[in-house]
Symmetry: C2
Subunit: 209 residues, 2 copies
Amino acid sequence: MVLEVPQVVVNRLPIYYRTLIALEGQGKEVVSSQELGFFLGITPAQIRKDLSYFGRFGKQGRGYNVRRLIEHLRGILGLDRQWSLVLVGVGKLGRAILGYNGFARQGFNVVAAFDKDPEMVGQCIGPLQVQDIAGLSDTLRSISPRIGIVAVPAPDAPEVIDTLVACGIRAILNYAPVEAKAPEGVQMRNIDPVLALQSMTYYLKDRVS
Amino acid sequence: MVLEVPQVVVNRLPIYYRTLIALEGQGKEVVSSQELGFFLGITPAQIRKDLSYFGRFGKQGRGYNVRRLIEHLRGILGLDRQWSLVLVGVGKLGRAILGYNGFARQGFNVVAAFDKDPEMVGQCIGPLQVQDIAGLSDTLRSISPRIGIVAVPAPDAPEVIDTLVACGIRAILNYAPVEAKAPEGVQMRNIDPVLALQSMTYYLKDRVS
């Protein structure tokens, strides 16, 4: 029987993964849940509980083997392969996304980019030529990328998301500032700096600077 | 006695706020927790519980007055005023941030921008002239922005964050892909699309496309 893993736990795994990679880079071979917890501001008990969903990695009192835990997390998160992404929206934000080399370095490759602006269509950005959004469905069906990135203005986002989902995309990274509810069976993550700012001003508002 | 509000609740409030603004724009005057829950994919019970931290807004069975709830949330979140921000790092990402009008529209105004690259320093981006990062501390002390945005490469981020905190900044929006633990009393939100992607591939990895 496979236990369903809560999404909050899944969301923490990439953070563990990144921290372990950094520790490995520093030559660390074994790490305790106390140390990991200290780096991350998470209780050691929480870390042990999160990892226990996936088996027994550490020995009581011995800590985790850094390299082995990295390998396990790579497999659990599906980071042991390359992923193809399609980008919709090549405005300022979309171009910053295409210019960011942090995606490809982690195995996330943007293989096609779309825009509805005739001025943008046909332009080359790095190795990609921007395609007309009118051809989105056809291209999606032929190249079957696994993940969609939505970087269009908010009013255009719902339709783009619907098209991506209709073409079989099951994971969407959404930069448009809309609260779009992910359809059943589709993962969606919203990248929204305004919401992040608004959740911080709650704490600032009664402070004197 | 003031109940401490869990951070997960605070993080949801801006999402409620945005959704209510959208509903108001559609002419809606009253909304039930069921309806709000439907739009957001959150249970009505959770919404009622979240809002109950801040008093009694709705009448049992009558729903929430949209405009009044918006006003309350504006006050609770501190969105009834303007906030000044300082940006550190004016590379591709930093320029996309400066070019994004969604911040100012919500009362978040970038009032100064810094970079360490001599080629960038002195350049004008919109109304701002990029300043040398060497002068960061002095400028922070004289203009006292409330929020810092970190958009420098990962290796530079810890030092920049330390400087911001040392100069009295208590809220940081961090785009650098590092797990930096916020110092005591400092709010920090990490905007990190790679972590978001890695938490989605967990769900994709065993699916056939």
